[in-house]
Structures are given as C-alpha cells and as structure tokens.
C-alpha cells in the first residue's frame, strides 16, 4: 500500500520530467483506482473486461497533470475526485446511449467538459467537494473510534503532550495498523493486543497501557488510510516501519 505523501513525492519527480516515475505511479495506483471505481459502480471490476477502469486510469493520469498543491487537497483525494467525476460522466454517457428516448432532459452532453475547461469553477467545485468529503470523513472517523469506545474528548485527555511520547505511541500505532491480524484482533475484542505490541515494538507495557486510547485512534486512522485520506494527509506522522 501506498501513502498519500509518497505519491506526492512521486508527483514531484513526474513534474520534473521523470516519465518512468509516472508509469510506476500509475501501476502502483491501480488497486486504488480499482477500489474507487468499484465503489462508484457498486460491483467488482476486472481490468481486462471493464471500460470503467480504463476511464479511471485515464482520469488518474489527468489528475497527475492537473494536481495543484495550492488547492489544499491531498493528491489522493484529488485523484479520487477526478476519477469519480470522469467515471460518472462516462457512465452517464453510457446510460444515455442505452436509453436515449427516456432521458432527454439530462445535463448537456458537454457539461463535464465545459466545467473542466473553466478553471475557476473547477477549483471551486474541488474545494466544495473537498470540504464535504473532509467533513464526512471526520464523521466516519468519529463513528469508527466510537465503536472502539473512544471519543474525541478522551483523545484530548490522553494526547501525549511530549513529542517523544507521542512519537513512541505513533510508532506503536503504526505497528498495529501494519499488522492486519493485530488490528482485526483489536476490532473483534475491543482490546489492544498489548503483549504483541510489547514484543513487536519493544515499548514498555506501562507506556502502551497509558496511551491505549491514543494508540487505537491513530492505528485506526492509519489502518483505514484510504477512508481517511484527508486526516492522514493532515497529520504529518513519522512513519514507523511497517
């Protein structure tokens, strides 16, 4: 799996004319594209059969070219927006062709294209969507940690003030998120696998127990990094070794 800002560093190379890097990035992003398009279509897709995936791939490539850090949107989120937008347009077109007689009053066929041409409105559209998505993401995150018995208020109380402690706990959270079986255990038993973390990270049991809620919250953020794109890109977490 890839992290948003790793893609952004690849983006940097591509901007400097590193074409193999582009190939590499697109290849790496294929599962991501498949998941985004698959969720949009509501079914699992196959690279060999389904045109939607190709549309998504082209949209991702477009996103690489058009991405602007000034938008204040993570590249992953931006790419997802572009893919969704293009695939939706594609599906609409497909559907119209399928039932021409039934859908006369649909948006003008070049609506999407004209929006793409108008940079100002496009940027505004991106910003609006980003705000909405960010909000939804936080709500989802709130729900997710609530299921694990944690509120934001708890996290205020248990956030380690000292940078060192925080980095230690984030290291533990990264370890937990990187080991899917451990995170699954956490979800099932609603209990942090302390012994495994002690063994895996060498952090003392006391520290882990004390930072329990914070570790779980951060691990959740990292584990569902594709769900929580905005949050993950917002916090500059030191990357622990997966």
């Amino acid at each position: 799996m890839l992290y948003g800002d790793e893609w952004e560093s690849s983006l940097q190379k591509i901007r400097e004319g590193d074409e193999p890097a582009r190939e590499e990035l697109i290849e790496e992003a294929k599962p991501f594209i498949a998941r985004v398009v698959g969720r949009l279509c509501g079914r699992s897709l196959n690279w060999d059969r389904d045109d939607e995936l190709s549309v998504g791939l082209i949209a991702f490539n477009e996103a690489i070219d058009r991405y602007d850090a000034k938008l204040n949107v993570p590249f992953t989120a931006y790419a997802r927006m572009v893919i969704r937008s293009r695939v939706t347009d594609y599906l609409r077109k497909e559907n119209r062709w399928g039932r021409v007689d039934l859908n006369i009053s649909d948006p003008p066929p070049d609506g999407a294209a004209s929006r793409a041409e108008n940079d100002a409105s496009w940027e505004q559209y991106i910003a609006e969507v980003a705000d909405w998505e960010r909000k939804e993401e936080i709500k989802l995150y709130s729900e997710t940690i609530k299921n694990l018995g944690i509120t934001f208020g708890d996290l205020v109380d248990s956030s380690p003030r000292h940078r060192d402690t925080r980095e230690t706990l984030i290291k533990a959270a990264s370890y937990l998120a990187a080991h899917g079986d451990l995170y699954a255990e956490l979800q099932n038993k609603k209990r942090m696998p302390v012994s495994e973390l002690v063994r895996g990270t060498g952090i003392s049991r006391k520290v882990l127990e004390r930072g329990r809620k914070y570790i779980i919250a951060v691990a959740t953020l990292l584990f569902y990094r594709e769900e929580f794109i905005y949050l993950n890109s917002y916090i500059k977490l030191p990357r622990g070794e997966g």
Partner: protein, 451 residues
C-alpha cells in the same frame, strides 16, 4: 505552543476539539463566527481541561471551606463572659488574651451605656473602665446613693478556665468606682456555663439569674419579669432581701490584701463620702444558715467599695455599717500582713476596697483563718447550678422573648466543634504560659515594692 492550527473534529458549546498536524488532539476555544467540522482553524492557547467549570466549582468550594476554617480558627472567640448589673446590664465576651470581643446590653440601660463606646478589641480593663465611667456620667452610679454592682465571670470552656481572673475583674471594676468616689457595693461571683446559658435563656445576666434562684431558695419570689426589668436595689427594697446575702461574693486565696482582715489601708477617701443608705443594710439576714461550711462565709461577703472606712473594725460586727465612714490612712498595717506580699494588684497603693462585715456576727475573728475557702467549692454554689427554676409567671413582653430567642441562638452557636476544641486546647496552653509569666512579674513587682 502558543499558536497553532488544527482541523476541527468536534464542535462544542464554547470550545472545539481540533487535531493538529502533529497528531495532537486539543480542546481549544471556539473562534468567533461559525465553526464547522473539517474546517482548519487557528487557535491560541488550548483550553486547560482542569480549568473547566466543574473543576473550578469544586476548587473554589474547597478554597471557601479552607478559608472558612482558617477564619473560624483565627476569629476571636469569647472564652469567658463578664456580666455586670449596675442597673444597666451588660455582658462582655472576653477572648483568650483578655480582650473584649463582644459587648451587648441586656436591658435598655445596658444598651444605652454601650452606645457610643468603643470597647471592642479593647482590653477588659479599659472596657470596664469606659463602661463604669459612662455609668457614672449617666448617673446610673449615683454618688448620692449607695450603689450595687453585681458582676459575674463565666468561663465558657473548661480548657480556658481562669483566663479572666475574678480578682482582676474585681480590681478593674473597683478601681474606676473608687477613683470617682462613688459609693458602691461590689459583688463578684463566678458563674458556671450552665448558669450562663439559663440566664441567656431568660435574657438576663447570670448575676440576676443567680439572684432569682437564690432568692427563691430563701422563699423570696422574684418573677422573671421583675428580674428582667427592675433595678436590683429596688427589688431589694420591694422584696426585702439583700443581694449580698444571696450571692456568694468571690474571694480568692491569694489576694489577701483585698480582705478586710488584711488591713490594706483605706486612704484618700473622697471628702464628703456619702454614707451607705440605711435601707440597704437594715436587715442582716440569716446568712450563715444556708451555708454549710462556716469557713466559707468569708467568701460570700460582698465587698464594700469606697464607703467602708472602719478599717480593722469588722471584729465588731454589730455596727460597722451604720457607722459613718471614717477615713483611716494606715500604711503601716499592711506590712504586718504576710498576705500582702502576694498581692500584686495593690502594690504600695492603698486600696479602698473593704469587705463589708455587716452580717458577720460572731464570725469575724476567724476571718484570717478562712483564706482557703473558695466560692466555687461551696455546696451552695453547686446548688445554684443544678436548681431548676420553677415556673414563674412569664413576662409577655415581646422584646424579652426576642432577647430570649437570640440568646438561645447564641447558646446553640457554642456547641462543640473540632476547630473550637483545638483552638481551646491551644489557648489553654497559651494562657498557662501567660499566667506563669504574670506570676513571675507579680513576684518581681512585689519584691520591688516593699511596703
């Protein structure tokens, strides 16, 4: 982190929870304007969680409690009460350093006397001086009459017994009276706490209360209303009793010179000293009968202030009171009395205080031998305390009832609390120290003033 940016995760009433780019969750004050989840805001200082209102409430409550405890511990509290009936009845609360912490009049005259005086926080001596001066000024103490001053000293706490020395009170009262040349009979008694409370209950001084109960024992009925409202002198005339027969006058062991037998010279009496009113002493009552211990009789005698000049003549008890006062300056006599050495209050200076021997028929010769008698050891004194007042017709006066209610409230306030207990323990210790120092000083004074 003075300033920071954060992503709003949760919006609360006055604050919001943000996630910083460092991965910290913080609760910060809500910025002005609308805040939405997902918005990035700039915040100042994170809200200190323990400054939140409920923490604040608990903390301030604790502070208040501690402040109250400290205040209560430092507040001057009366450890003894000195009550005085001239006709104005006043009661002074005395703290452990013998300063006046409360003063109230128990009747209208008492209030009038206290009005305009500034005796709070004054030493007892100065306060009493002020009150007596005022009584003389207002003619409550009339130079043309023989006046009666009835005073009681009550210790509130057994731990602080003796903070207010009866002898001292005697001196504090007698001195200004003597200095002004007013003729007055001074009776001082110690009352116990129970008596004080019962007296408070009836809105009167312990002295009057003792008078009432003692009178009843002798078959003299004084109603609550009478004891509250009438002057003691008038009651004496009306009911034909003598206060000095009913209330044992305090008498100490170590103040020999105050006794008539010690021949402290009564000098410099005011010229034209009025004679005692014949009415006041017309009937020597059968006092010895109700006092089982003969030897204690001496302690029960009221001391005559100012008027009694028959120095050394009490051995002729049948007539001393009716004799016109004779001014006798007899400085040499006191030298012969060993007891004088123990009398620091009256060093060198002749005291005008005389015990009135009027009703001591046949007992006076024993006077000098009876020094150890203490009033508070007398069975009679105990009787005073335990005697329950009979139901007597109650004065329906509203004011009286009000005073009684207030007094009851005062009594309730004096209930036992740990703070008081500790404070009293401490004060008892402090008093002990103080009295030791005083004794040393007295001895020194006596040594420096050989008479």
């Amino acid at each position: 982190m003075g300033q920071g940016r954060g992503l709003v995760m949760e919006v609360r009433k006055k604050s919001c929870i943000v996630l910083t780019s460092e991965g910290l969750f913080l609760e910060v004050l809500r910025p002005r304007g609308d805040v939405e989840i997902g918005q990035e805001i700039v915040f100042g200082r994170p809200v200190q969680r323990w400054f939140k209102p409920h923490y604040l409430a608990v903390a301030s409550l604790l502070v208040a409690v501690f402040a109250w405890l400290a205040f209560a511990a430092l507040m001057p509290r009366a450890v003894a009460y000195v009550a005085m009936d001239i006709n104005p009845s006043v009661e002074l609360g005395i703290d452990s350093s013998v300063k006046i912490v409360s003063a109230r009049g128990l009747n209208k005259d008492g209030e009038a006397v206290l009005q305009g005086t500034s005796i709070l926080r004054e030493p007892l001596r100065d306060g009493l001086q002020q009150i007596i001066d005022r009584c003389i000024e207002y003619k409550y103490l009339d130079p043309n009459k023989e006046n009666l001053v009835l005073a009681t000293v009550t210790d509130v706490w057994s731990e602080n017994k003796g903070v207010v020395d009866t002898g001292d009170v005697y001196e504090y009262i007698s001195k200004p009276i003597n200095d002004s040349g007013v003729d007055a009979k001074l009776i001082i008694a110690r009352a116990d706490r129970e008596t004080l409370q019962k007296a408070h209950h009836n809105g009167i001084t312990p002295g009057r209360y003792l008078l009432q109960t003692e009178a009843r024992k002798k078959g003299v009925l004084i109603t609550d209303e009478e004891i509250q409202l009438e002057k003691i002198r008038e009651l004496e005339k009306k009911k034909h009793f003598r206060t000095e027969d009913l209330i044992k006058h305090w008498r100490s062991n170590d103040r020999h010179s105050a006794e008539p037998g010690n021949k402290t010279p009564a000098k410099d009496q005011m010229p034209g000293e009025p004679q005692m009113l014949p009415g006041a002493k017309e009937t020597p009552t059968d006092e010895p009968d109700h006092r089982p211990g003969k030897s204690d009789n001496r302690g029960t005698k009221p001391w005559k202030l100012g008027a009694d000049k028959n120095n050394g003549q009490y051995s002729n008890p049948s007539k001393p009171d009716t004799e016109p006062p004779k001014k006798v300056v007899n400085p040499g006599v006191s030298d012969k009395t060993p007891g004088d050495e123990n009398n620091p209050e009256m060093p060198g200076k002749g005291h005008k205080v005389r015990e009135k021997p009027a009703d001591e028929q046949g007992e006076s010769p024993l006077g000098e031998d009876r020094l150890p008698g203490r009033p508070d050891k007398e069975p009679g004194g105990k009787k005073d305390v335990s005697a329950k007042p009979e139901k007597l017709p109650r004065g329906e006066d509203k004011n009286i009832k009000k005073t009684q209610r207030q007094n009851r409230e005062n009594d309730r306030k004096e209930q036992w609390t740990p703070v008081k207990y500790i404070r009293n323990k401490f004060e008892a210790w402090a008093n002990k120290k103080r009295s030791e120092e005083n004794r040393e000083q007295r001895l020194e004074n006596t040594a420096n003033n050989p008479r």
